[in-house]
Symmetry: C2
Subunit: 196 residues, 2 copies
Amino acid sequence: MKRMEELLSRFNPDTGTIDGAPTVTRRLSDLRNCFADERAYEAALQQGNPIIYTVASVEPAAGDGQLHYCIGMIMPGRVGDEYYLTKGHLHEWRPAAEFYIGLRGKGMMLLEDINSGESRMLDLVANSAVYVPGFTAHRTVNVGAVPLVYLGVYPAAAGHDYRTIAEKNFRKVIVMRNDRPVLMEREEFVRGLGLI
Amino acid sequence: MKRMEELLSRFNPDTGTIDGAPTVTRRLSDLRNCFADERAYEAALQQGNPIIYTVASVEPAAGDGQLHYCIGMIMPGRVGDEYYLTKGHLHEWRPAAEFYIGLRGKGMMLLEDINSGESRMLDLVANSAVYVPGFTAHRTVNVGAVPLVYLGVYPAAAGHDYRTIAEKNFRKVIVMRNDRPVLMEREEFVRGLGLI
């Protein structure tokens, strides 16, 4: 059996880190084509290149039946009316699901069924779990005023497909309207900006 | 895609429940043959039949790649020198792993590799995750003074095999020695009691 240090990990909901685990950092410049409002994106980049989110992962074992987990932290903020967000991904192994568990802050998950095209916007807050079924693209956004921190648990065999999202993006966007997050058709949102 | 109510669940680390999810309750009388000290077990049963632990589960979907999760709550207490514990189980689908995430209280997990026979005793406390690899029997004990509450996330296809544990039990026990939990050979512990 693995050593104790490989079986036990400690995570920190304040820093969004896992002791000893590598952390990936995504800055604004890494998120080109993720925000629908390209004008606001370019303007924001002129102002600086802040960290938008970090992800630290623990991958104890590979193979069918095994699991991985990660801790994600998304900073509070917006680009235009769009909340800071993750790139979003599908699993390479399409049937693979994922559980998200909220630890701190106020977030939303955007889910899009790749077969039916249906979307869902779901709260991600402390003491809640969001189930991302297989065959479902998912993105997380921070709609609050403090960092959003959450865990994700997924099959070791899932794999991450960012390419499909990068090419097609999501059909819907989560944007601020009257100080609240609402789910809108991406095209409608972009049309409203006068960008198409 | 499933309805929002089926994708989002709220759990309560104080009550060890998940809104709308069925809860299984295990009382002392349900745990016959789980404690090594049979004399202390029978004596405790004469005093009453308290709840030892509860488990509530969410099973959004079946099939390969899907996941389930549960919240467990173990009461504080002991039978003789053995801390209150769960029955423990193997997964029917032996390669299936599980992540345990501590929410509240002070617990320990007992892991036993069914191939090598090796055992591990690991802390289960808030802000920590214990990885239970495939092919590993696992039991949780409460070594603290308040209820121990934790989440478990596992493949939907895992299944629970309680029978194998009920027949063979674990090779080791977690018992109190000088007010601290220690891992001992079950046989040595029982011999020390004069029961064999």
